[in-house]
Symmetry: C2
Subunit: 212 residues, 2 copies
Amino acid sequence: MVNRSDTKTRILDAAEKLFAERGFSETSLRLITSKAEVNLASVNYHFGSKKELIRAVLARYLDVFMPAASSEIVSLQSSNKDASLNDIFSTLVKPLLDLNQLRSEGTRTFLQLLGRGYIESHGHLMWFITTHYGDHLTQFVKAVVDSAPHIPPAEMFWRLHFTLGTVVFTMASADALTEIAAADFGEHNDIEAVIRKVIPYISAGVAVPVTA
Amino acid sequence: MVNRSDTKTRILDAAEKLFAERGFSETSLRLITSKAEVNLASVNYHFGSKKELIRAVLARYLDVFMPAASSEIVSLQSSNKDASLNDIFSTLVKPLLDLNQLRSEGTRTFLQLLGRGYIESHGHLMWFITTHYGDHLTQFVKAVVDSAPHIPPAEMFWRLHFTLGTVVFTMASADALTEIAAADFGEHNDIEAVIRKVIPYISAGVAVPVTA
DNA sequence: GTTTAATTTAAACGAGTGTTTAAAATAGAG
DNA sequence: CTCTATTTTAAACACTCGTTTAAATTAAAC
């Protein structure tokens, strides 16, 4: 018989993998509970509903990542007052990769969850993040704005949303893309390679001079 | 009683709007047929299955857009042998905006459908596009690769997908973003203005030198 | 006008969904 | 051990889904 005390953890572990791979609405509670080897009703017993399970899955990552990212930005700003955009975006790499120590494939799972959530939640995920982690978020945006003073605020608004789209879309389809890249170019990229590929791209886009 | 001869068109019109707004799997045939004011079974009668309806919705746009984009690229290359990345991407603006003449909100609908399809179809959309419009696609990719010869093909693969994410995500949330931009910065942008903002961003990202 | 083909319609099918219930099993406290 | 509270379990509920069927209706052919 299954050790009772870790039923919640077994559900979260199975759910986050399936959510990241297949999306939220495409993942049934029966699939989650069968993979977690727990009873179907235990999800509603421990989490109340599927929606609250989704929030719990996201919060388990965000509670680790957001403070870690904040701390990295603070230490960058204290050591380098003229940090480049590349530096700013690069500070996120370590907190992201540290998620692999938290759980196997943690980085890829977290980014895919973010992408899925952003696309599927009709803005609810953004609301969830801004209300729960708003201070960390504005701190990061301010660091970006300060390091690209030649971009007017209105233009920067658009470019940061372009960047969000790049990251979210790429991560949501990261599995399919890495498969194609392996088949067509013999490249075997892990999630870290993709992250390091996207940073120069978004840095260049955000910083490119505004054409008249 | 409804004019029989346009049942297929009524279904396609209702389906593409709902698919773009809510995604494919989140849109039921009952919702489509009720909005189209046709009988539920007529979808299976005219299209065979939901999957084939999705393909028909996409094909109706791709059949117009792909040849138009190809023709624009050909005429650019014949008039300018050293076209910049900005020029290449800018050739897509007219074919995209012309979709608004095809159907109301055609441009945004098409881009949203592309995004939904890429995310939901587990690579099936990419197979569909490459097998049905492969020539147009490789022609465009070749034009991009030729105008940025310092980027290796494998790297370009990733950057073009970053670009796809940027465009698709931006257009999907263009309504909300233009509203926020108007409220926060007094900017009043239509779809065309957003497209023209994004082109310098993606051109810079695609062309940025690869770091060792 | 009659006959044939194409289309529309209402109804049902079988499978899958999240959630709830009440009984059974287990764990912890006295 | 006994009693209580927590947790697990099997079963059912109410609902939605894509699809199919067969009859009714409309359109086309002769």
